[in-house]
């Protein structure tokens, strides 16, 4: 494994999540983009016996890569060599009885208690910018034992309270709030991963910064949080991607370059002494 010297922040984010994948565990992943790439990279490189399902009821597939860049679920490629083909209610019920160890999903906006908005920006019922709704994320966030959220490190995305709770985190943060709302016991948010940082939750169920990328400081990360998270006593430095990880990501998963092409996502270069973010001149 060789540390890469040139990569995109999005690629770093996916590699960070891939390294969290644990062997022998089950994952319910959102059926496209980074969550799917992270579980596949994790399986192929670190945890071959991790398995995943998607909300259309694909159980433990060995997908034909690369995916169709737009539509992956209910497709022959995504469901290839699965151990089972079921339905959405089957996937939901498998999680509801506790079979899914961990969920991986994307978020538009997240708050201090890990609640996720994917429905609307603005005051609901008044003028809003409408988004797609929770899709499968509400079930993933409610029913998996723990949840990893992938989002951008942008000020407007880390807020005190989301405009609309589409998928539940720790709700109002009080002890037992999820259980009082009817959600299964001992479930909830576990990690948030951005291109710059990793967060967990402290005993008060508040978002806590625990690790940062080598090219940013804690203050720079906090500057990109509208609501400031708790900062751990010791903030770790994240490992950068390896050449092997990037090779897989670029040649098998993100072959269309969707990650590296995203705006607001910087390139990171090793300048001989340190990793530095390339800014447009």
């Amino acid at each position: 494994m060789t540390r890469a010297t040139s990569f995109n922040e999005r690629e770093m984010q996916t590699c960070t999540v891939a390294r969290m994948i644990e062997d022998g565990k089950t994952y319910w992943v959102a059926g496209a983009g980074s969550p799917l790439y992270a579980i596949l990279m994790g399986k192929k490189m670190y945890a071959p016996n991790a398995q995943y399902i998607t909300e259309d009821g694909v159980i433990a597939p060995e997908p034909l890569l690369p995916f169709d860049p737009i539509m992956s679920m209910v497709s022959a490629r995504a469901g290839y060599r699965a151990l089972g083909w079921a339905t959405m209610n089957a996937a939901g019920n498998h999680a509801q009885v506790g079979l899914m160890d961990c969920g991986i999903l994307n978020a538009l906006q997240i708050d201090q208690y890990g609640n996720i908005n994917s429905t609307a920006i603005g005051t609901y019922g008044e003028r809003i910018r409408r988004f797609g709704g929770p899709g499968g994320a509400d079930s993933i966030a409610s029913l998996c034992w723990r949840t990893i959220v992938i989002t951008d490190q942008e000020k407007r995305k880390f807020v005190e309270r989301v405009d609309f709770i589409s998928s539940p985190g720790y709700l109002d943060g009080t002890p037992g709030a999820r259980e009082r709302a009817g959600l299964p016991r001992d479930t909830g948010p576990w990690r948030v991963v951005t291109p710059w940082a990793v967060y967990d939750y402290n005993e008060e169920r508040r978002l806590r910064l625990i690790a940062i990328a080598p090219w940013v400081t804690v203050d720079e990360v906090l500057a990109e949080c509208q609501h400031k998270p708790v900062v751990a006593d010791k903030v770790e430095t994240l490992e950068v991607p390896t050449d092997e990880e990037l090779d897989m990501l670029r040649s098998q998963l993100d072959v269309a370059g969707q990650m590296s092409g995203i705006e607001r996502s910087g390139w990171i270069i090793w300048d001989g002494e340190k990793y530095a973010r390339q800014t447009e001149s």
């Binding site: 737009i70 959405m88 509801q96 797609g132 079930s139 709770i165």
Partner: protein
């Protein structure tokens, strides 16, 4: 022996409008309208939509316009200018937008759909009312409808703002004494389901994963199945374990080759990426009127649409690009 509470206490409830569940009314509809005879229900998309989709219906479709969904049937609903539909907008990208832009849908139960300028404008102009659920909560509502019960307890959805704008309730469960969310059963007036194979009676086979085709077929008053291929009933009897939907749930069978266009129909053809991008971009940029004019209103039916706007070369290419037939063919 009972130790906990013995009554159901409603702790909280959403304020969203919803169709009141009516399990006995649904049973009576089924008794009076669902044919048990083994009689051919084969008809054209035009006839099926004309007979079975009515203004004001609650409409559910399985999968969606881009993913083995009933795209031919959705186009026909728009072509016939059905009005005031309430649409189950779960696991979908562009279908609800097409139905709103076509003047067909005025209410949507949201699980998931594509964002973009079109939906923003529809919401601002109040052309559509949206009620909030999730994909799985919607399929569980269909499950309740398919079981003939008025509601179903679910372990997700609690605590969300979606709950507040839905027909869900939070109750104290009389067995455990703990909080649990219940959601109202959904019995759509009409369902559109696309499958790979069916016989003329409506025995239908879905290959690959599905969203809730079985629940939807059992829960819906009128069921239109479109199929890539009409097979002989002897073929169904040779492999009964393959039957996903039994005939007595089904009211109309439509032969619809490339019926999921521009989406993929696993095992039969790959998607048309250009066709997918065309409708996605039209949705994101709010240019659906032009899209509908080209693919729906300027042609008499899907055969003419496929001839004029897709062409044999592309259709053959979609067939050649099938990624895998393993498990997708009998």
């Amino acid at each position: 022996m009972a130790t906990g509470p013995t009554y159901i206490e409603v702790l909280d409830e959403g304020m969203g409008e919803f169709r009141m569940p009516d399990p006995d009314g649904y049973r009576e509809w089924v008794r009076d309208h669902k044919s048990r005879a083994l009689a051919s229900k084969l008809m054209t998309a035009q006839e099926a939509v004309s007979r079975f989709v009515e203004d004001g219906d609650y409409l559910a479709y399985d999968c969606n316009y881009l993913q083995r969904g009933p795209s031919t049937l959705i186009r026909e609903v728009i072509r016939q200018k059905k009005k005031d539909l309430w649409v189950a907008g779960k696991f979908t990208w562009v279908a609800v937008h097409l139905l709103i832009a076509g003047g067909c849908a005025s209410k949507v139960d949201c699980g998931f759909f594509l964002f973009g300028k079109a939906i923003d404008r529809f919401v601002q102009e109040r052309r559509v009312q949206i009620f909030e659920y999730s994909n799985v909560v919607m399929t569980l509502r269909l499950q309740a409808g398919a079981m003939g019960v008025p509601f179903l307890p679910v372990r997700s959805f609690g605590g969300t703002d979606g709950f507040r704008y839905s027909g869900a309730k939070l109750i104290r469960d009389p067995y455990t004494g703990q909080s649990v969310v219940i959601v109202p059963a959904l019995n759509p007036d009409v369902a559109l389901i696309h499958v790979q194979q069916a016989d003329v009676y409506g025995n239908a086979r879905v290959f690959g994963t599905g969203i809730a085709h079985q629940e939807t077929a059992m829960a819906s008053r009128k069921v239109i199945v479109s199929a890539e291929e009409i097979v002989d009933s002897e073929e169904i009897r040779r492999d009964p374990g393959r039957t996903s939907i039994p005939y007595y749930c089904v009211d109309a069978v439509v032969q619809a080759p490339f019926g999921a266009y521009p989406g993929e129909c696993a095992g039969w053809y790959a998607s048309d990426p250009a066709g997918v991008i065309e409708v996605v971009v039209a949705t994101l940029t709010d240019n659906l009127d032009a899209y509908l004019e080209k693919y729906v209103h300027s042609v008499a039916n899907d055969q003419e649409m496929l001839e004029k706007h897709v062409g044999v070369a592309k259709l053959l290419e979609m067939q050649r690009r099938v990624a895998s037939k393993e498990g997708y063919r009998p």
